[in-house]
Symmetry: C2
Subunit: 180 residues, 2 copies
């Protein structure tokens, strides 16, 4: 498989903090603190999860691939962990912005060449993966959670829109949750 274009990935990753800031900062709590029901996340929770992933997931795993290849599986992550409980959303958005910038600086310093993207590591659940797949997944993970935040916000007006719900696709989305 062709490795993807790393500059496209970095561009997407670098736009996410400003996107979440523009969408969520200075909004009433209905748009940031409400979830979709028991066991689901608010936008606040999602930002906390993204912080945890910046701390423990993507860059950590990239360096594991470069150092150990397939010899050492990635540390399993608890995908339910969220940072920042009890803090303000503004604080979380600042923290995510800071961590993302630091991690992208670290990614650029790795000075990856196209051949590096084919290097392999080992995922604890699904086995051999490439560095290319890991970095592409980092970007699509941002989009999965942007998609989730839009759906969670829309859910708050599920009744308020009345018959328009038939035309508003986001209200038909069931979340496509990943297996636990």
């Amino acid at each position: 498989m062709m490795p993807h274009d790393l500059q496209q990935t970095i561009s997407l990753l670098s736009h996410t903090p400003a996107t979440l800031n523009a969408l969520l900062r200075n909004q009433p709590e209905i748009w940031t603190l409400r979830d979709e029901g028991p066991g689901t996340w608010s936008a606040f929770d999602v930002v906390g999860h993204l912080i945890h992933c910046e701390q423990a997931d993507w860059i950590t795993r990239a360096t594991t691939i470069l150092q150990f290849g397939e010899d050492q599986a990635f540390e399993p992550l608890n995908r339910q962990t969220r940072a920042g409980q009890g803090q303000s959303l503004d604080h979380l958005l600042d923290e995510f912005t800071h961590l993302r910038k630091r991690n992208l600086d670290e990614l650029r310093e790795l000075n990856l060449q196209p051949s590096d993207l084919n290097r392999r590591g080992r995922h604890p659940a699904f086995g051999p993966v490439t560095l290319s797949q890991l970095l592409a997944a980092w970007a699509v993970h941002d989009l999965t959670h942007l998609h989730q935040i839009a759906r969670t916000m829309a859910h708050q007006y599920r009744d308020a829109v009345g018959p328009w719900s038939a035309y508003l696709g986001v209200l038909q989305c069931n979340g496509h949750s990943a297996p636990p």
Copy 2:
């Protein structure tokens, strides 16, 4: 049904232009000009559609309700119409930002009272609707298209993420398209 809180709706609507600017401006074309296949829209197309709706849909229909109530059905809209074909994405983002600000200024000038939100109009497809439902649908329409843009961007890396696709819910989303 309780009318919704108009200030929450205005807050959401006022955040959308900056959100789309942060997400889409200065991105490589893979994130802005590619769609999900024949008959689907790129992010560029979605912004063109949002411009058309600012020009012809929400505020126009709100004033129709206030002037004519249920006596005059809304003009049917072509939901496939997109403004800005042949122009740059930056131009479209500027145009959307300008139109949204103008329409929110107009909404505030209507100085709607809680009782106004219960006023009724007539939708050409689903009959009686309230002003409250129309304004709530305007907000959720933004979220439907943010949800769509995230999905369309993610689609470009459908193959690149390899086995991670099982964990990335946005890749399972089929779009929940509204009936044509």
